[in-house]
């Protein structure tokens, strides 16, 4: 039970004026694993990360990183963490290389060491060509990569990624996911916050769902999906005349559940295992049904929250966290 916990938080409480950002949050992340912290805007994700990364002191509760207390041993915590988020960013007036070398110097890598590390990271993140340009000229994807590279300068054991892919297009998102997987393979422990169950499912070993500053669920991705319902298979037949035929095939694939027409000409059916997709493709082909769209969807954050709390995701978007920052 008492595995090697790298990130440990107990009863974290943080209030900003009358806003209760955290109301007793527990988190635990074993070494070499990824914890996905899932929640809507204003749930307290960012506040939790800011406390764990020593930027903010909790009002109550305690937290430690690699055994170092985030309040009393903040300096030691800072030696082992890397932080990437909407806030911890780079200097836009400096070039990519100047940024990385500056952080290298501040991490005591020495002049030559800082330069070598910058070169290494620029190459890894495919920024070598842009190394001499000011960060403010970077595209969104490049900027995100530089932010992440900046947090890896010190080769941290523990990496905090606060909504690392929000605003990225799907291809760039996949790239970012690959990076995270590589980091974990290299032995890093990652805490990742996200608004997408899909992202948490793709990367996390365990998922903690928080809402209004409280943990409302903690499970493996599989466990969570069992609770909130599995995936949905969505199919749009090319010929609207085949809707009925398609619906009956899909219903068979999903072992009897009726297919709903969720949008005009688009059918959806709940499926429980991953083979449903290949099976549907095979059966539709055999029946001579051509399709223009076919996709497997995980429940959205809204659906997750509806299942867990009985109401829609509290996307008040209060941005209280930003105010507090």
């Amino acid at each position: 039970m008492t595995a090697d916990l790298v990130i440990e938080a107990e009863g974290l409480v943080k209030h900003f004026g009358s806003t209760k950002a955290l109301q007793g949050v527990d988190l635990a992340v074993p070494r070499g694993t990824v914890l996905g912290v899932l929640g809507p805007n204003g749930a307290g994700k960012t506040t939790a990360v800011r406390i764990l990364s020593t930027l903010l002191n909790p009002d109550a509760g305690r937290a430690s990183i690699s055994g170092f207390d985030v309040v009393r041993e903040a300096e030691k915590v800072r030696q082992v963490i890397g932080l990437t988020g909407q806030y911890a960013s780079v200097d836009e007036d400096l070039t990519g290389r100047q940024n990385l070398e500056l952080f290298g110097t501040l991490l005591d890598l020495g002049r030559a060491g800082a330069r070598r590390r910058a070169t290494e990271l620029l190459e890894w993140f495919d920024l070598t060509d842009a190394a001499g340009r000011q960060a403010k000229t970077y595209s969104g994807g490049m900027r995100r990569r530089l932010d992440l590279a900046a947090s890896l300068v010190g080769s941290p054991d523990v990496i905090f990624l606060d909504e690392p892919t929000t605003g990225l297009d799907p291809a760039k998102r996949e790239d970012m996911w690959d990076v995270v997987r590589t980091l974990v393979k290299g032995g890093s422990t990652v805490l990742l916050t996200t608004q997408y169950l899909e992202e948490a499912d793709a990367l996390a070993d365990e998922i903690t769902v928080i809402d209004h500053g409280r943990v409302i669920a903690h499970d493996t991705p599989e466990g969570l999906k069992r609770v909130v319902g599995g995936q949905t298979l969505e199919v749009r037949p090319s010929d609207p005349g085949q809707l009925r035929l398609t619906a009956s095939i899909l219903s068979e694939v999903s072992s009897g559940a009726p297919a709903d027409e969720i949008r005009k000409g688009m059918l959806a059916v709940p499926v429980t295992d991953d083979r449903a997709m290949t099976e549907a493709v095979a059966r539709l082909a055999a029946a001579g049904v051509a399709v223009t769209e076919l996709a497997l969807h995980l429940p959205s954050l809204d659906e997750v929250f509806f299942t867990l709390t009985g109401r829609t995701a509290a996307d008040d978007d209060t941005t209280k966290e930003e105010v507090a920052a």
Binding site: S53, T54, L55, E75, R78, Q79, I81, L83, G85, Q86, Y87, A88, S89, V90, D91, E92, D93, L94, Q98, L102, F103, G104, T105, L106, L107, D108, L109, G110, G113, R116, R117, E120, L121, E123, W124, F125, D126, Q134, G141, R145, A150, L152, G154, S155, A171, D175, D178, V179, R181, T182, L183, G186, G187, S188, A325
Partner: protein
């Protein structure tokens, strides 16, 4: 542009064998210097940010010398000799405002959170910003003296005294800049820093010996003028550039410098820690 960044190309990027952080002595100094270099790079990249310390002294010198010189001092040359140290002091004092404005802007961005998540002494980012601005103050000193020289200003003492006068001006700016740094931690917008600092610097530079001899001022104002730090800085520079009686001006200036640092540096650092 398609990019694949999944596979590292140069060994394991997470645990590189090439570098290991090892704490070295004098971290505060080294980190402050690294952060000062950052300020310098930013200054070099945006030369237009130097307008306040290059164009302003030129404008003030030209306007005041040629418009008021005849009326105030009887000759433009005499007034130029009198006015230049004053304009230098005024420009260097207003030049300090920029650091507050810049810091206030910077704090709203993510870069300071990044600094705070690194094992960097808490005061290093502020020290670095203050030190990095030395270059601005050196530039203002030289550009003011240069334009003054073109207009006919001449230093009548020796090079050593002149150098001491310049050094005093730069030191004054460095120490005074803790005030705008402190203000920048306490107000919400860069515009507020600018407005507040102007409200402080303007009375200081006019209710002083910058533009006119203090003897012409009403008695009730003289009391203020005599303690005004700019009065002492200008008095000291006039002495060091032109050989006028130095009196205690240099000592008073140094005392004010020490005062600015002793009062506003701890306040600024404390506000910085609290702010974030």
């Amino acid at each position: 542009m398609t990019t694949t960044i999944g596979a590292p190309r140069t060994g394991n990027p997470v645990m590189p064998t090439t570098v290991t952080p090892n704490p070295r002595p004098f971290r505060l100094v080294r980190h402050s210097m690294a952060l000062a270099k950052r300020s310098l790079i930013k200054t070099a990249r945006t030369p237009e940010a130097l307008i306040d310390v290059t164009l302003q002294p030129v404008l003030f010198l030209v306007i005041f010398v040629y418009i008021f010189g005849g009326a105030v001092a009887g000759s433009t040359h005499d007034y130029l000799q009198f006015l230049l140290p004053g304009i230098l002091a005024q420009t260097i004092a207003t030049g300090c405002i920029a650091i507050g404005v810049n810091l206030n802007t910077d704090l709203a961005k993510g870069i300071f959170d990044r600094f705070r998540s690194l094992p960097v002494p808490r005061s290093a980012p502020l020290l670095g910003a203050v030190l990095g601005d030395i270059v601005r103050y050196v530039i203002v000193t030289f550009s003011t003296l240069a334009i003054g020289y073109v207009m006919g200003f001449r230093i009548t003492t020796d090079p050593l005294s002149a150098a001491a006068g310049c050094a005093l001006a730069v030191l004054f700016a460095l120490c005074l800049s803790w005030l705008p740094v402190y203000v920048s931690m306490k107000v919400r917008t860069p515009g507020a820093v600018q407005g507040l600092m102007f409200a402080v610097i303007m009375p200081l530079s006019f209710a002083s010996n910058v533009f006119v001899g203090t003897a012409t001022l009403p008695g009730w104002m003289q009391g203020f003028v005599e303690v005004n730090p700019l009065t002492h800085l200008v008095g000291a520079m006039r002495g060091l550039f032109l050989g006028t009686p130095l009196g205690n001006h240099a000592w008073w200036t140094l005392a004010w410098c020490a005062g600015f640092v002793v009062v506003f540096m701890p306040l600024a650092l404390r506000a910085y820690r609290k702010k974030v």
